[in-house]
């Protein structure tokens, strides 16, 4: 017995010593790796090529940006300060001192010009052409007619000016692309540029260490980052692809520090109950919508669209699908935005009587088969549902039930996301009538300008974003006024009026505003995520216990 006790004491002492030694080793943050869970990295890491959200995270960590935004969504100069002149058409940036790329070379205005000229380059095949399309001289440069991009002027090594064709407060969002070193990315043929897509090099806080497609990206801290006050404390980041099915258990077993699980009540409860993990819940900058094809004889009356909205219990839908993780959608503007109208918006609370009354008022009466009819047209509509995510199907199932009681014959068609896009927004003009309803999610940028989006009649084209076919002169006028107005107060008024008009006319219904769940391990300190700021923007504040 005594012998055994002695052995235990000896063993514990050894363990204790081992622990002391080990913890001595791990005193600094330099060897701490942040473990991040993703669901799909494509390897388009060059800042101007990144299109999916995880690629964008990588690009944001590796490159530096002219501007950044604060938690309220206000933009400020990041590696440069800027001034607006020339009737608000010209942005002049002055770079800070001492900025250098991770290979030691300085970052100059030539690199800034190179980055933006590359977006406008005739061979550019990334998704961001619109960023520079508003600049003076884009058409000539992009078509190859001119080797000079007139709207981009390098003034000296630290100063560069960008001139837009038209003044708009939304122009600032052009400067959201990381600055790429010309001496590294400079190219003769476009394939030379693409060859470096997976091997990014920038002036940012991290350096790419290893990328394995469909497995992981490993980033190491840039220990020589030019801005000492923003050098990261951790040693690196490992972004692994984790199947949605195993995300929860990956946290439970400590295999992850940060990830964004799907927004629903089950998930938030599970992460709340989990030891060592705290979910951060933030309002997502976007909404889900239900678009009506307003040119269909069944749906061209606003009263019918209103009736359909009164006839589906969105509160119950949100409760069933998201729980507390979403709220009923009201206006096509994020509730987090200054442009969101606080009053005068109808929430179309579930009311079957009102729905029936509106149908009757619009002249729709039930026929012998129980289906609503007007002038020989039956209220028979199809709904394109994509199955990549669950919510469109759920909403359609609820509508199938309650609309069925009202006399609406709903046909749910299942397809993948790409097919929905092809049959709605991307459909040629002579095929735009092959659908009645479709649902999708939409993420917003910080500026509320809706040009080209769901409600803009100019976007009712093949490949345009507006598939509803809805036209309203006042709405078009307000959209134009809104993007030209620099006075915040007047601009707010414009968007309030516009939001109320859309809420009344309902060419497209905003279904819900969703919250994002960010599961964050308690070991990670300083992780501040908000509607307008992603986790990568404040990466230098993060430490790991």
């Amino acid at each position: 017995m005594l012998k055994k006790a002695k052995r235990i004491v000896a063993l514990s002492l050894t363990l204790l010593m081992l622990l002391v030694v080990l913890s001595g080793c791990q005193g600094g943050q330099g060897d701490k790796i942040l473990l991040f869970g993703t669901t799909g990295i494509d390897g388009n890491f060059a800042s101007i090529m990144a299109s999916n959200v995880y690629d964008s995270y990588v690009a944001t960590l590796i490159f530096d940006f002219l501007i950044d935004n604060d938690a309220e969504g206000m933009y400020y100069g990041d590696i440069a300060s800027y001034e607006l002149s020339n009737g608000n058409r010209t942005y002049t940036f002055t770079l800070k001192d001492g900025i250098k790329f991770s290979d030691g070379q300085p970052l100059t205005s030539a690199d800034v010009a190179f980055t933006y000229k590359t977006i406008g380059h005739p061979d550019y095949n990334g998704p961001r052409a619109y960023a520079v399309a508003g600049l003076v001289g884009y058409a000539d440069y992009n078509s190859g007619a001119s080797s000079d991009f007139a709207g981009i002027k390098v003034i000296d090594e630290k100063t560069i000016a960008f001139t837009f064709e038209e003044a708009s407060p939304a122009n600032i969002e052009t400067f959201l692309y990381g600055i790429m070193p010309e001496h590294y990315y400079g190219f003769n043929t476009w394939s030379e540029f693409l060859a470096l897509n997976e091997k990014p090099m920038g002036s940012g806080k991290f350096i790419l260490e290893e990328y394995r497609p469909m497995e992981f990206v490993r980033l190491a801290a840039n220990t020589d980052y030019w801005d000492r006050s923003k050098r990261v404390k951790i040693g690196g980041i490992l972004m692994s692809e984790v199947p949605e099915e195993s995300l929860l258990d990956a946290f439970a077993t400590g295999a992850l520090h940060v990830a964004q699980p799907q927004s629903n009540q089950d998930n938030v409860n599970a992460y709340r109950d989990m030891d060592g993990v705290t979910p951060q819940i933030i309002l997502g900058n976007g909404y889900t919508f239900l678009c009506f094809n307003t040119l269909q004889p069944t749906l061209n009356d606003a009263r019918v669209r209103q009736a359909l909205m009164y006839g589906v219990d969105r509160v119950a839908f949100i409760e069933a699908v998201y729980g507390d993780m979403a709220t009923v959608g009201l206006a096509p503007i994020s509730p987090a935005s200054w442009a969101f109208p606080d009053s005068g918006i109808n929430d179309y609370a579930f009311d079957m009587d009102k729905a029936a009354a509106l149908f009757a008022e619009a002249g729709w009466v039930k026929g012998s088969d129980g289906i609503l009819e007007k002038d020989g047209v039956k209220m028979s509509i199809n709904w394109l549902v994509y199955t990549d995510v669950a919510w469109p199907g759920r909403l359609a199932e609820m509508a199938y039930d309650s609309w069925g009681q009202l006399g609406v014959d709903l046909k749910i068609e299942l397809m993948d996301f790409n097919t929905v896009a092809a049959r709605t927004m991307d459909a040629p003009m002579d095929e735009k009538m092959n659908f009645d309803l479709y649902t999708m999610g939409f993420s917003l940028s910080i500026d509320p300008d809706p040009t080209g989006a769901l409600f803009d009649y100019d976007a009712y084209t093949e490949g345009g974003f507006n598939a509803s076919g809805y036209y309203n002169a006042r709405s078009q006028e307000l959209i134009t006024l809104g993007k030209q107005e620099f006075d915040q107060g007047r601009r707010t008024e414009i968007y309030h009026e516009w939001a109320r008009l859309m809420n009344e006319e309902l060419p497209t219904v905003i279904v819900a505003y969703r919250n994002e769940i960010w599961a964050v391990s308690d070991n990670v300190k300083g992780m501040n995520i908000s509607t307008y700021q992603t986790w990568v923007q404040n990466i230098h504040e993060i430490t790991i216990d």
């Binding site: 990334g126 619109y130 258990d249 439970a252 077993t253 092809a422 049959r423 080209g452 769901l454 974003f465």
Partner: protein
């Protein structure tokens, strides 16, 4: 026989061409397209149009088909639209894990399925036969994703014996190549079981019926009559003949496993051809879809022929003319 083989191999050419044409037609008829991924209100239609032009999507289908065939014959499979790099580079890192997973599953299926089939055949209608049959059927009776989830829940979550996802832990520093291989095998263990179980049951049942047939043949009866030990009869004489049709099965199996791993790969978060082909289909990344399916079709065709030839070689009663 030689004439038959040569003829079969020559026949591949029109069949393969037919498959390519149909494949191309399916892609052509399929709704949507790569441009459907550029869902961004800021991206104006003319910009989408310019991009489509750069990806060569605006040419008429016939032109594109011949362009593709021409380039493929020169070993150029084109550029991926999603990953913006050559298709060969996209697929290269996927082939290794896919082959590893499918051959491990095949190995498992053979090592377990064939002996189980023999036992089951030699002891037909006994408890051993019945329980082996039921056990083998449990595996294939469950949807594979469901089976995978149950395995993960039990072995990875509750017992913590296996990793939850991935092909490797990038932070693991292997002292040597064997440790690294062991590390990856450990990650592949559960996926192998999920993918291999269906094949195990199939192998077992094939072996069983093939053995039953052989055991009842005259020469085995003769062997028994000569007074040979039952073990010798079964393993030396019967098994050798019973295994021939099973070998011909192998040919079919590799392409089937490669394309059948979609669900396993996505649940276990493994890189591989199955997963990338689903992604390519959802994205309408035509060059990748074409390359993978052409490759699989070729594999399937070759294995059909190898199976037919092996079969002919094994059974002289079948005449080929």
């Amino acid at each position: 026989m030689r004439a038959y083989i040569i003829r079969r191999i020559l026949q591949i050419i029109p069949v393969f061409l037919g498959i390519l044409i149909i494949l191309f037609m399916i892609i052509e008829l399929s709704p949507g397209g790569p441009m459907g991924n550029y869902i961004d209100p800021k991206m104006r239609p003319e910009m989408k149009e310019a991009l489509a032009e750069k990806f060569g999507l605006n040419d008429p289908p016939v032109t594109r088909f011949f362009k593709w065939i021409g380039a493929t014959l020169q070993g150029d499979l084109g550029q991926s639209i999603k990953f913006l790099k050559p298709v060969t580079e996209v697929l290269r890192p996927m082939i290794g894990p896919s082959l590893a997973l499918s051959s491990l599953s095949l190995l498992l299926a053979m090592l377990v399925g064939i002996p189980a089939g023999i036992v089951s055949a030699t002891k037909q209608y006994t408890l051993a036969d019945n329980s082996l049959t039921v056990f083998s059927l449990i595996g294939i009776s469950m949807p594979s994703f469901f089976f995978a989830l149950l395995l993960l829940k039990f072995f990875s979550v509750d017992l913590g014996l296996f990793p939850l996802f991935g092909l490797r832990n990038p932070l693991y520093n292997a002292p040597n190549i064997f440790a690294q291989m062991g590390h990856m095998l450990w990650h592949l263990a559960l996926p192998t079981v999920v993918l291999g179980l269906g094949s195990t049951a199939t192998f077992m049942r094939y072996t069983r019926s093939s053995m039953l047939e052989v055991i009842r043949s005259d020469y085995i009866r003769t062997a028994r009559a000569k007074g040979l030990a039952e073990k010798v009869v079964i393993y030396r004489h019967a098994f050798r003949n019973a295994v021939i049709p099973i070998i011909t099965l192998l040919g079919f199996w590799i392409p089937a496993l490669l394309s059948g791993a979609v669900i396993t790969e996505s649940i276990f978060g493994l890189p591989g051809l199955g997963k990338i082909s689903v992604e390519a289909v959802m994205y309408r990344d035509y060059p990748i879809i074409l390359a993978i399916n052409a490759m699989l079709a070729m594999l399937t065709l070759l294995s059909t022929i190898i199976a037919d030839i092996l079969y002919a070689a094994a059974d002289p009663r079948i005449k080929y003319n």
